[in-house]
Every structure is written in structure tokens, then in C-alpha cells.
Subunit: 399 residues, 2 copies
């Protein structure tokens, strides 16, 4: 097909339609806790023991029978015999933070409230039962649910797992994402030293694969396919075991743009044409229950499309929590124009010291160096006509 | 030494003193652009060619001599002969977005402004020179500085490097971080199934190593050292080739807390005792130009200490940009008490839907499960007496 886009779907609507069209994966695998940082639990984790599993001294001092300390004060010290193991009436045992409280004792007197006298010690304060004693299960009780299904494991969580003696966990498999670059003009990086006029190095697939990896997917960076419907069909069919397919290029409405038609012939195109700038030619579809993201060949449009559609799809399919992005507030040093009716993405350089954002002026969606120069994105919603110089806006930091 | 802390340094001052005591590393290595996401450039990158390296069609259409289109309009179409390669007076060549503009042509007429008639085409609009032509170097000019020293490479940057034919870059080596767990009570994970009373599994070192890895360092998780000054000295001395040493445990002022004294005997203790809760017993020092972070054994105190001191040290030493953390604003569902004169770190569970933060009530710094249950931290500054229920506060998301 050649011509104009008949329709443009608003960004949020397009994303909703797309995300509703597929389910999360259910395949799981066992991984060691040494390797599970960033992975998603597919089962809840239950404590198989108490932490601590013993009565724990919470302070350096002496484990005592609290009843032996009744009436003790600096003016009325009570003398106890220091023992090594067991506490009985009139004796105590030296303990350190984390030590086990010996049998017979029910409290700890802090070392600051004592005066050692040979193998005896003067107790200078009265302690109640369980004073400075961490009870069994104080941190985690046996049979407690420690983490629920869908929790993303952070390094601090690994420590909790280790404290429970858990060395392996069951997590969702990382989504397998096939990245298929297309385009007659696209050549592999290996031949980049003899680049002919009209040829460009394959970079969108590389960028896509590296973001997929960063976001928790397993990318497969496929060979370049030229603008030939039959070849695109074969390339897609060979990747239908994947969890997501991302095609780069050929999504517009020109003579050489076959990707959306190919997706339609193999499955469904849910959205073609999105009210975003850059990124209008994005197409989203489904083939045999595999979500397909068709990114434009223009690098900046591909970049924005990745964040707006590929990342949420990867998160949904992989049960990965959709955490907020890092944002900062900054004052615009210049106005940001927007395209009426389009969600507009403007690249900015944020000066964190002065909280000022400088819009990066560019000539269009082809100029990836505008992203390289930027550290942030300003998103102008569809219904707003740009931002004025001096406005304070939210900046999404480019990861 | 046994007793109270004589001094407490405010958190920001402690960090400043520490970070001023050492320099960044200068060791570099070459890495492939396939492996350099997240790495820090040690040299600026200069474009060794123009991007595009040819005059590029910015639209699908016909490459023409602009002078041939003077006066063209829908009412006054101008007929041109379609040629295959070269444009001379009266001819044009079909081009696609990204195609090379053939010799002789200086503009592109969009396909929408043409009507094909056999092997001829009617031009329906007048175009100026360079209309819809991307000039050579429009994206990146040869000899332009594309990235400067210290830039952290993101996936989008790899695409820019690839477009320049750059396949390797010089980056700073990842800082080597030795993590030394200490404590008589600490046992390795492998023996966790037969855990005696008074023994705890080594978890702080595991957590530390995994955060170091996440933050761009190369952790070396060393063997557990018992609370014996001579053994701690040997353990530190064997790691002095490292860029940072992090010791876990033994930093307080109890009988078994030897770590700060050991650091003092081998070098300098810059700070011992910080106005933070949890985390007061943190010590920071230098041994032979190697920064040393001494974290308390209490897991939550260690966790907070990692974020407040180990991460900034790692970033400084590794030239890693100190980017802001992801934060969200949320309303407190309950008050957060704070310790007067201490920067207080309170764990919260943020409900993103309602933007509400629920403080996680805990009995202290020993309870790592309080971190496991939380997804955010509220930081109460030294000079503020806690936050009230209903206050809107900044929440740092726990990564």
C-alpha cells in the first residue's frame, strides 16, 4: 500500500489494545540465588525456619535472670557470678550482640549498666523479662510468606533468602525476544568499513537487542531481511517460538513498506499508525499468540517506540513489575513545540546542578545523535500545545 | 575499645570527607560495542566519517533538479522522464526514504505530489534546492565529538557508535571491590542447613556483592573472617590491590568490634560514627590509597550504609555518573517517627495506584525482612522530627 495513514490511534489506547491481546508467559526455571537478582518469582516463598532460630542478644552485656535484677541500681548494685554456659539463680553469662541467650536467662543487661569485679559483675539496673532479647522468629517466623509470586528479586532480598537457607528459587523464564532488522539499505556492521552510498549500518536491531537485555529479556538479534514480503514472512515464521517479535523498519506506507501487510497476512494488525511524534508509523499485531512490535526505521522513532510499546510488552509477558522511571523536574531553557494531536517526545539535556533542561534542536526522527546528546525526554501530551520557556516539566532520564 | 561513640558525623559531611580522600581510577580497557552497555568512556569519541555519508532522500518520491520544477502545480504539472541512475535536465529518478540522491539531482518531490504516467511522471509542485534531501553529515559531521570522556554508554549510544563503524571503545575498568564478611557468629551459606544457636548465615556480604555488581563494580566476595584483629589485618592486606574494600560487621564499640581499630592500625579512620539511623556504627577510612567502607553487621544498617557510602565511592572511583534515583511522591498512611539529630531511614510500602506509602513497622536494624517487605525508603533529614500522617513525601524506590 502507498499513501497516507488513514487512522492514528492515541498512544495510551494503542498500548492498551496491544497489552490486552496477549498473556504473560508461565514457563519457569530454577536458578541459584547467586544468579537471581532482577528475576521474577513464579511462586511465593515461605520461611521454612525461624529467623533468628534462637533467642538472640540484641546488645553486648550479660544474660541474666530478670528476677535476679529486681531493685538493682547504681546505688544498689546486685552482684552476679559470671558463668560460661548456663544461667541459674545468682549467675550470668557474658553475651555479645547476636549471641545465643543461654538457658535459664530471660534478659540482657547492657555492658554499660554493669561493672566487672574479678569473676563477678555488678548489675546496676533492673531489667524486665525479654529486655534486649530478640525472640525466636522475631525477624521472620517459620511458615511466614516472605515473598509473593511476581516479586522482582533485589540484592537485599537475596540476603533474606540466604538467611532462610534457601539456595535456589523458581522464577519465570526470561522472555525470548526476536529482533528482525529489515531494509534493502541496511547492511551488517561487519561490512561497515566499505559503506556504499544509499547503505546504512544496521543499528536499530543492535539498540533494540541491548534494551531488551537491559529490561530483562533474552534478545535474539536475527539477520537482516530485505524489503521482500516473502523473505519477511519466512523470517517471522522462523521466530514464532519466541515470546515477542520486534521488526525494525518497513512500517510506513511507502512502496517498500511491507511489514504491516505481512503481519496482517500471518495474523492480525491491531494498530497501525499512532498519534506520536516521532513514531507515527508504528504497527502492533499478533501472530499465533506472539505479540509483534513493528518499529519504524527512523532511529529516534524506533527508540521511542521501544520505550512506549516494546518495554511494556516485555514487562507484561515476563511478569516484570512496571516500576516508575526515574524523573527529575527541570525548568526549560527554551520552548518545546509539539505537533498538534500527537504525543510529542522532545530530547533535552538536563543540567542537574541548575535543574535546567535544554531542548536539543534536531531536524527529525532520523537523527539518533540527538538522543546521544540528550540525557532526558520531555513528553508533551496530545492535548497540549508544547511547553513554554521557563516552564517546570517532568523529565524522563534516558537509561 | 568498649563504650559509647564519642562523635557522630552528619551523613553528608561524612560522605564528603570520604569521597575527598581518594581519586578515580585511570585504568582502561578496550571492549566491543556488544559488551559496552553501562560502561564509562575514558576517551572522547570523534566521528571518523559523516552520517549520512551520502545525500539521503528524506521522503519516498522522485529525485529531481529543483530548477526543472519551477512553476509546477496541480494545475500546471511538469512532465519528467523517469530514469534509473542519473538525473539530467528533464529527467528524474525514483527514490525511497534513505536512498542515495542520484548525481545531478538536488531535491526530492514527495510521491504524494506526483502522478505517474507510463515511464513519465507529472510533478505537481515546485521544490527548492535540498527539499527533502538529507545533506552529508546532517546527523553527525566527520570530526564531531560524539561522546565525551566520562559518558556512560546506553543502548541508544551503541547504535550511534555502530553507525560510525566503531566496533570497540576504550572504557574505564570496572572497579574491583573486595567484600570481607567478619564475625564469629557468621557461617557460610553452605553450612546453613545445620545452623547452631548463636550462628547466622553470611548474608551481608552476598547482598553487598550483588549491589556492587548491579552498580557497575566487580565484586570479590571473600571468605568470612572471625573477630580476631590479626586475621582481619591479614584479610585486608590480601585485598590491597582492590579499588575499594568493604568490611561487613565488627564496626561498633563492643569487645568484639575490631574493624575500625584494625583500619586505624593499617591506615586512617576518617569517620567512625555517623548521625544516621540505622547505621550509626559505620566507619570510613583509607589504607594505602584504598578506600575502606566498614558496614555494621545489622543487615538494615549495612543496607543503608551501602547506598549512602559504598555506592557513591564506587561511582567516584569508577567515573560512574551519579544519576538521581527513581523517586515517587506519596502520601503517608501513618506517621514516621525519627531519631532526633539522626538522618532516619524508614522503610515503606508504596501503593502506586493510590500514591500512598505505608510505613513498615519494625523492631530495629536487625530485621532485614522489613526491607524485603518494602519497596521504598523515606529519608527524614537530621533537623526534622519525623513526618506526620497525611504528609506528601519523596520515596526512594529500593532497587
Amino acid at each position: 500500500m502507498t499513501g497516507f495513514f488513514k487512522e492514528r490511534t492515541p498512544v495510551n489506547q494503542a498500548r492498551k489494545i496491544f497489552l490486552n491481546a496477549f498473556n504473560s508467559i508461565e514457563n519457569t526455571e530454577q536458578v541459584s540465588i547467586d544468579e537471581c537478582s532482577g528475576r521474577i518469582l513464579s511462586d511465593s516463598v515461605t520461611a521454612n525456619r525461624n529467623v533468628p532460630h534462637y533467642r538472640r542478644a540484641a546488645m553486648d552485656g550479660y544474660a541474666v535472670r530478670s528476677s535476679d535484677t529486681v531493685g538493682a541500681s547504681p546505688d544498689n548494685p546486685i552482684m552476679l557470678q559470671i558463668d560460661d554456659e548456663e544461667v541459674v539463680e545468682g549467675t550470668c553469662v557474658r553475651v555479645h550482640t547476636g549471641s545465643s541467650i543461654p538457658d535459664g536467662a530471660d534478659a540482657v543487661v547492657m555492658v554499660e549498666d554493669t561493672t566487672p569485679v574479678g569473676d563477678m559483675v555488678e548489675i546496676l539496673t533492673h531489667v524486665h523479662p525479654n529486655k534486649h532479647v530478640g525472640i525466636i522468629g522475631e525477624d521472620i517466623e517459620k511458615n511466614d510468606t516472605v515473598f509473593t509470586d511476581g516479586h522482582m528479586l533485589r540484592p537485599c532480598d537475596l540476603a533474606v533468602l540466604a538467611s532462610l537457607g534457601i539456595n535456589n528459587v523458581t522464577v519465570y523464564k526470561k522472555p525470548h525476544v526476536s529482533v528482525i532488522p529489515t531494509g534493502n539499505e541496511v547492511v551488517p556492521r561487519t561490512s561497515s568499513s566499505q559503506l556504499q552510498p544509499g547503505k546504512v549500518v544496521e543499528t536499530n536491531g543492535l539498540m533494540t537487542a541491548k534494551y531488551v537485555e537491559k529490561w530483562g529479556g533474552l534478545p535474539e538479534h536475527c539477520d537482516i531481511v530485505s524489503d521482500d514480503p516473502e523473505l519477511i514472512i519466512s523470517a517471522i515464521q522462523s521466530q514464532l517460538e519466541s515470546d515477542i517479535i520486534i521488526l525494525c523498519g518497513g512500517t510506513s506506507v511507502g512502496e517498500r513498506d511491507h511489514v504491516p501487510d505481512v503481519v496482517k497476512s500471518l495474523g492480525n494488525v491491531l494498530v497501525h499508525g499512532v498519534s506520536m511524534s516521532p513514531g507515527k508509523p508504528i504497527a502492533l499485531g499478533m501472530i499465533d499468540n506472539v505479540p509483534v512490535v513493528c518499529l519504524p526505521g527512523y532511529p529516534v522513532a524506533a527508540f521511542i517506540g521501544l520505550f512506549m510499546f516494546a518495554r511494556p510488552a516485555l514487562r507484561k509477558i515476563g511478569h516484570i513489575p512496571d516500576l516508575p522511571d526515574a524523573t527529575v523536574k527541570a525548568e526549560l531553557s527554551d520552548k518545546i513545540p509539539s505537533k498538534e494531536g500527537y504525543m510529542t517526545f522532545s530530547r533535552v539535556v538536563v543540567d542537574f546542578g541548575s535543574s535546567t533542561a535544554h531542548p536539543v534542536m534536531t531536524s527529525g526522527a532520523g537523527v539518533l545523535s540527538s538522543v546521544a546528546k540528550s540525557n532526558g525526554l520531555v513528553i508533551v501530551p496530545e492535548n497540549i500545545e508544547g511547553y513554554e520557556k521557563g516552564e517546570k516539566v517532568d523529565i524522563f532520564l534516558i537509561e
